[in-house]
Amino acid sequence: MGPNTQKTRDVVNEPTDELSRLDRLQQGDEATFRWLVETYQTRVFRTALAIVQLPEEAEDVAQEVFEEVYRTVGAFRGEASLATWLYRITTSRALKKERDRKRKKRFAFLTSLFSDDEPERYDPPDFQTPETILETDERIHHISRAIQSLAESQKVAFTLHYQEELSYQEIAAVMQTSVSAVESLLFRARQTVRKKLTSYVTP
């Protein structure tokens, strides 16, 4: 188990003082809220980015997530860990953002049929910078493309497992489903990515 995995484990498996932190958050303690944001902001951003693809939109999702936490922490009863709760809000917000983008794209296509103007673009541009292209080989890039074609729940399960390194139990808690359902989602996601990748590599 790598250091990154251990870090994720520590966060998801409730630190000893999580209850007191939750208590302070519910009392509106700003220092604790700042701690929460600074501890989880990168994970929230990266999870959102795996779903929405565009860094600006992923940051917008991250801001929405913490705004929702700020507003609703009073009603949070602590039945899940803070990390689980944050991942749950993040994936649901990111999926909503992605659905909105797809809907706008469809609408833009329809309006472009009746207009001479250049249609507005709703496809996310490739955010790969020269540095990341150098570091990322073509196969990984193809996997990213294949993941975008997965069903929503498969995409979430795949991202939480391989990127956030959550266990099946933790993913089940985030997605509010059973462990066997997570296993099934991941199995189908792997199969789909393999098939897609084979078609990319061997046209």
Binding site: E38, Q63, F66, E67, F127, T136, E165, R190, V193, R194
Partner: protein, 108 residues
């Protein structure tokens, strides 16, 4: 199943690729994320502070709106069903309106 997925070492290779995907380099969050979040929270508080507290919660706002619509529907329905449409409306004469005695008026 595709031939490329049937080779003996393939599952391990795919798993390695998926794990490499998980650790791929990604863009970082722009600096001062918390400052921007604070500004956003302050802005949203200011934009809703003029509303009464019970309207800032969607459930209360929808309930208030539904109540308003129901009251309007009730008023309209009541005015339609309870109005005496079968009785002709007669305009009150000026004598009745001002409660004047016609006999007294005739001798004036």
């Amino acid at each position: 199943m595709n031939a490329s997925t049937q080779e003996p070492d393939e599952p391990g290779r795919w798993e390695t690729d998926f794990q490499r995907w998980g650790k791929r380099p990604q863009p970082e969050l722009r600096p001062f994320f918390y400052t921007r979040l604070q500004a956003r929270l302050n802005q949203s508080v200011e934009s809703t502070s003029w509303l009464p507290w019970w309207l800032r919660r969607p459930a209360y706002a929808y309930s208030a709106l539904s109540l308003l619509v129901l009251l309007n529907v009730g008023v309209v329905a009541g005015s339609v069903w309870l109005s005496p449409t079968d009785q002709p409306t007669v305009a009150a004469s000026p004598l009745d309106e001002y409660e004047l005695d016609p006999i007294v008026l005739a001798y004036e």
